[in-house]
């Protein structure tokens, strides 16, 4: 059993199965420390309009060069906008990895699978490595795969909610049925939830809010990295089978004080 067996996305062999989002950090320096100390291999960033009245540092300078930059299309409400953001990212910094995130619901922030599939198709054709953030629907996952997705990123629960794996039963189905890597994204609030996702057989987990808003983001990053790794080991070792009945760990027969 090789607990460090990498998985491949877009030609890259990835060892660290914890991906980190870069939003909401108190400081960019803190973010850099998180990435470095836990040897994060993939980070997400987003794009927005420049605030023309104010100086703002380029976040890319704070991301180690060897780290894979995945740009999300956060803010896009349809496929067209997502495609536009992806192309901007490519022009701006040669970005190849795109997390497609199309949201047209301002309350629950749920991903729009149908528009997402369209964007996957266009961007995969243009040579991007495309990872759609999606609602865990089996048929949509199949469409993502046909459209050229490099991996799929189903939500665990609502973005930023910390509710964990509310969609567990349906992510299990994706893991069983899809040949793509499954990266659980959104809703992961504590390390045990990340471990649980990995125990189910997810290929990786992405978190952001839970780390960036933690009292100590560096420790939170380490905690998630370790939990993801622990869950991976459990999956590889087939540990996830509850017996549901009592069974002694010490021998009860032939013991001392028989009457």
């Amino acid at each position: 059993m090789d607990i460090d067996s990498p998985f491949e996305i877009g030609g890259h062999k990835l060892k660290n199965r914890f991906f980190l989002g870069t939003g909401k950090f108190k400081s960019k320096k803190e973010m850099t420390e998180c990435i470095r100390s836990a040897e994060i291999e993939v980070v997400t960033v987003s794009m927005r309009r420049v605030d023309v009245e104010e100086h703002s540092e380029n976040i890319l300078h704070f991301i180690p060069e060897e780290t894979i930059l995945m740009v999300n299309t956060s803010g896009a409400r349809n496929a067209e906008e997502a495609v536009r953001i992806a192309r901007l990212a490519r022009e701006a910094a040669g970005v190849k990895w795109i997390k497609i995130e199309v949201i047209d619901d301002s309350k629950y922030l749920l991903p729009h699978n149908e528009e997402t599939v369209k964007a996957v198709r266009i961007l995969a054709d243009e040579g991007f490595v495309v990872l759609p953030y999606m609602y865990p629907d089996l048929y949509a996952a199949r469409e993502m795969e046909k459209a050229g997705a490099a991996a799929i990123m189903p939500l665990g629960s609502l973005i930023g909610s910390g509710e964990g794996l509310k969609a567990k039963r349906f992510i299990e189905i994706l893991i069983e049925e899809s040949s793509l890597p499954i990266i659980v994204d959104a809703g992961i609030g504590v390390p045990s939830q990340a471990a649980e996702a990995m125990e189910m057989g997810a290929s990786a987990v992405l978190a952001n809010t839970a780390v960036a808003l933690a009292e100590d983001p560096k420790i939170a990053t380490m905690a998630f990295s370790m939990a993801v790794r622990a869950g991976r080991m459990a999956y590889l070792g087939n540990m996830s089978k509850a017996l549901g009945s009592a069974s002694p760990s010490s021998p009860l027969t032939g013991f001392l004080f028989e009457k």
């Binding site: 989002g21 794009m47 420049v50 023309v52 022009e91 701006a92 910094a93």
Partner: protein, 67 residues
């Protein structure tokens, strides 16, 4: 000349003729900023050669933290 910068009308000084001058004239460090002119992405090297005209719509975009 009056253009639209990130959705808002803005009067440019008369000495600003091309896109590069326009970007450089902004406060703040504009390194890492990408430009859309009238919905079309402009390559970095082409900024100088593109002359602005009244009513142009310029979008300046940059990377930022996100999940």
């Amino acid at each position: 000349m009056e253009i639209f910068l990130n959705g808002k009308g803005k009067k440019l000084n008369d000495d600003i003729k091309n896109l590069e001058q326009c970007v450089d004239a902004l406060p703040g460090n504009n390194e890492g900023v990408i430009v859309e002119l009238n919905g079309k992405i402009i390559k970095y090297g082409e900024r100088e050669s593109i002359l602005l005209k009244d009513g142009d719509k310029i979008e300046l975009i940059q990377f930022m933290g996100g999940g």
